[in-house]
Symmetry: C2
Subunit: 165 residues, 2 copies
DNA sequence: AACCTCTATGTGATTTTATAACATTTAATG
DNA sequence: CATTAAATGTTATAAAATCACATAGAGGTT
């Protein structure tokens, strides 16, 4: 992947089953390296997010966890998702009250998202931290940025094309 | 206000009662110009957000509306807030499921927010649309941005100072 | 004024999202 | 093993948002 396109894992096609396998392997390695425990529920929750490859609400994840034989109460899903987001293996999309698997599990990053308002597809891009003018405004007012939520809402290429036809 | 600080209405002191009055007058003028109806509930909801000068949940707004003699069911607040956000007189803070009055009612803008995780104070800054690298990523993937949510979470100057003492 | 229409408001019920509290189990460590 | 800490399961509840439908007002037309 060239540098110019490295910042967006997006609305394009790809070999999905390989992408899932690779991502899990990568997360597994990271957990091992950091002494984190990728327990069965957590692993399954990640798998579910990767499989679907879109933003899933906590209750959708919960349904899939239950089907897989795990507990069926909300905290089961919320705890697994907390773990994943806390360690950067997944992200919470505030706009949708939903979660996506991280598309860049290897890099240390501040994620930005493009959310299609028609099909709810979500693409993740990278953002240089303290991006431009907001960083400047923060500095000017003495505000310390710890986390940055950037979510663009709009229409993805596929939906735009459909609308035109 | 000089250009250099014009982009942040922030964590600083100001003459609040004048700020409320001015903001309402400004919104009133805009509504009149555009043929929008700033009805009593809507006006009161805006007033409430301006008075508090921080992010308020819909139910907090609802409480204040009820106290002022308006209906007491959730849709009352949500509808007023919908009106205000739809026309840019207020903004929704996704991170907090809450609403703030717009700090720049006169300009056509894409707002960005700085949210203190300790005291929940919210400052609004302006952002050039299609900000930097996200705009580039969107363009590269064919995504059309319609709305941009930018919310920085961190610690405001006042809370940072308190933590140091 | 009487009528129509569209928008806005009021209200009850429900859905969706998220957390609190506490018991139980499992893993890691001495 | 025994002890401790982390993780899971479950009940209950809180918080946020929407649905559906009835009523009321504002604007325009004759």
């Amino acid at each position: 992947m060239s540098q110019s396109e490295a910042t967006s894992v997006g609305f394009d096609q790809h070999d999905h089953s390989a992408c899932v396998t690779d991502a899990i392997a990568s997360v597994e390695a990271k957990c091992c390296a950091k002494g984190l425990r990728l327990t069965p529920v957590r692993r399954k929750a990640l798998e579910v997010l990767l499989q679907e490859h879109r933003a899933l609400g906590a209750y959708a994840v919960l349904d899939l966890l239950r089907e897989a034989g795990f507990g069926s109460q909300p905290p089961v899903a919320y705890r697994a998702l907390d773990f994943l987001t806390k360690h950067g293996f997944a992200h919470r999309i505030e706009r949708l009250n939903a979660f996506v698997a991280c598309a860049h599990p290897d890099e240390n990053h501040s994620p930005a998202f493009m959310i299609c308002r028609l099909c709810d597809a979500v693409a993740e891009a990278q953002l240089p931290l303290a991006e431009g003018s907001l960083g400047a405004a923060a500095q000017a007012s003495g505000f310390e940025i710890e986390r940055l939520v950037v979510e663009a809402e709009g229409v993805c290429p596929a939906c735009a094309e459909q609308a035109n036809s």
